[in-house]
Subunit: 136 residues, 2 copies
Amino acid sequence: MLSKKTQYAFKALTYLAEQEKDLPVLIAEISKKKKIPLKFLENILLELRKAGMLESKKGKGGGYFLKQDPTKIPLSKVMRLIEGPIALLPCVSLNFYKKCKDCDEKNCGLNHVMIEVRDNMLQILENKTVADLTGK
Amino acid sequence: MLSKKTQYAFKALTYLAEQEKDLPVLIAEISKKKKIPLKFLENILLELRKAGMLESKKGKGGGYFLKQDPTKIPLSKVMRLIEGPIALLPCVSLNFYKKCKDCDEKNCGLNHVMIEVRDNMLQILENKTVADLTGK
DNA sequence: CGTATTGCGTTTTCTTAGATAGCATGATTT
DNA sequence: AAATCATGCTATCTAAGAAAACGCAATACG
């Protein structure tokens, strides 16, 4: 299951993608509309900004807005950033690989199955983008 | 990612499936061979027994052994028992469904994508069984 | 300047994973 | 029946991580 944090990230990005381009939106507005705890959301948006997906503007008329085109942000990117690995096992992760202690991967049935699962998940998550989440 | 507990469950089941049928195996042996903390493994095996996958025998010559044929134990069943939901969101889970507070599922893009992901995962996890994990 | 807004480190709270301990219970052997 | 082997069960501990809240600094704008 995805953590609440990741779920919030998706909701916030969706909301921003539905707004007018380059129009700063208050954290408080997103928080209210999407029922996300304000301070928690603050951290999430900051992470997304640091990763280059969002831009922010301080002061009056400030807020957050998308830096990248929503069609250019695959869901897998958001997941890896906020959630971590997409794969179900470390020994099967492309971006967060960690070797299995006690199994020879070539001969590990579990490894093979989980690679298959991973590939199936990625095939969707790499191709669907934030733009696909909006009601537009 | 799967919890250690679920990973251990898979390893233990795999080990048992590789043994001679109906031959009790000591918890200690599984623990040693698969490098699983003994007492933790005890709990896991107990859960699997209660779920009807394993049988146990006390006393000398006792131990655990498979009750069901490994080809009859889909990986999804183990995951749901030990890990919980397979789906990435509660509002998309078949066995652990929980309604989303603030979204109308019919019009929620995230919901739709995650249903697709779930179905792709299940297509594999429902069809692969413990027997597919063994080196046999 | 003054106000609005994000930036960000810190702290708190809560939950869960993971691991530990100990005694009860049942089966087998002698 | 006694000794021994092995699981059954429950209670508890610790650490880590998720979720959320706090307070103030920094910045931008008018």
